[in-house]
Symmetry: C2
Subunit: 275 residues, 2 copies
Amino acid sequence: MELWYTEQQTPNLGLSCKINRTLHVEKTEYQDLAVIDTIQYGRMLVLDGMVMTTEVDEFVYHEMITHVALNTHPRPERVLVVGGGDGGAIREIIKHTSVKEAVLGEIDRRVVEVSQEYLPSIAGALTDARVTLAIGDGVEHVRQSKGKYDVILVDSTEPIGPAVGLFSREFYQDVYEALTPDGIMVAQSESPFVNQDVIRMIHTNLQGVFPIKHLYLASIPTYPSGLWSFTLASKKWDPLQADPATFQAMETKYYTPDVHFGAFKLPKFAADLVK
Amino acid sequence: MELWYTEQQTPNLGLSCKINRTLHVEKTEYQDLAVIDTIQYGRMLVLDGMVMTTEVDEFVYHEMITHVALNTHPRPERVLVVGGGDGGAIREIIKHTSVKEAVLGEIDRRVVEVSQEYLPSIAGALTDARVTLAIGDGVEHVRQSKGKYDVILVDSTEPIGPAVGLFSREFYQDVYEALTPDGIMVAQSESPFVNQDVIRMIHTNLQGVFPIKHLYLASIPTYPSGLWSFTLASKKWDPLQADPATFQAMETKYYTPDVHFGAFKLPKFAADLVK
């Protein structure tokens, strides 16, 4: 018997993976949560029917949401991840030796616990001494943090369900205030092929909040279209002016100093979205 | 009733598109050929069950297999496409005003004819006065052309079926000899996520044939993993040393001078494949 899992990525598009078996399924307080063991992409975390991360391609998302900002800031010490309960972004953050505290602001405790149980290669760093778990509403956590963080990463699901507040102008204003005077935000901002309205909305909502704002891209096979975007917003430091000589030495599989700058070389149709 | 077309991209991975209807199906002398009208990606050309091109994302592949080489060569006049019967590469080639002759060396006449009938936005340029149709074996055409072409583009299916000969060392040697003394070849070279063996094979087979050799990438949603590679091999001109001031002015949707250089900034795992 062949078992396949299909994510209906849009009403008209599906990605299907042959699976060995389903490892875990539950309905948490916030969402449907599943871990599936796929043959092509290894174990896969699925929230509300959407692929969040897989063992095989998670490195792209987690390296790219993290290192661009952390290498742009000259000395990031306090970093917040909003969402990202799988712990992959935290694993990358603590590769930076300047970091003294990495806080995970995840609303759904079960995402953290299930990731720790079934995805240890991703969630393993959550027990590091520099990591703080702040289980609760990320929007509220940001609102109560004034001038605290050097970098805030918005590692959210798409703008429906629990994450909808993470794409608003009010939230970006709160993020601005939660950052230090030279702080940087990065938010995952969906696919330039499939979610053009989301990218436009994010950039519209950021207008006037941060003086520096860039879209950058990375290739993530299990996300719709395989091309994903991130939006970096900064008070002072521009990632395009960063000095590679100051970049943290570390093991990576996707991010390199070349990729740091190359990711901002947008295809024309993507550049046009944020003009 | 909902109709879906699924390409089984690997034994363990499928991409599914909801379709309006099937426009054309036939078994040609060489392969199974179909044109399907999908909702997400428009009309789709399918050969032997593999998506070759779609109306919505074809611009990426056709711009990227073409303009990198044609802008690297200072004055490309004669250009050959091996395969590429849909005509998309030809459409991009003739945007370059220096080009006097663009030859399409496609083995399967029916791919050309069906593309002209059902995909006019892609195949429309095939009737241009500068275009020559050379229906027949591309390997043989290359072998019989000595020192003729400034640029040769290998726009093939994957290395099984009719295209298997287009990935061999002997073929690359023939391409070298079919090029002018400062000629350039570009070959589509599959996905760095899914077809790592093919990329390694191509680069191994090119070793010692051309002095300059680079892998570059573009994002194509309907190809396996969404990330696709091209291999450029050159006798004299290096795409990384090209002068953007000399680039052809033209309408594009993906390629820009920034993308020209950014496409060579490889993620570490991809760079490692061709080390």
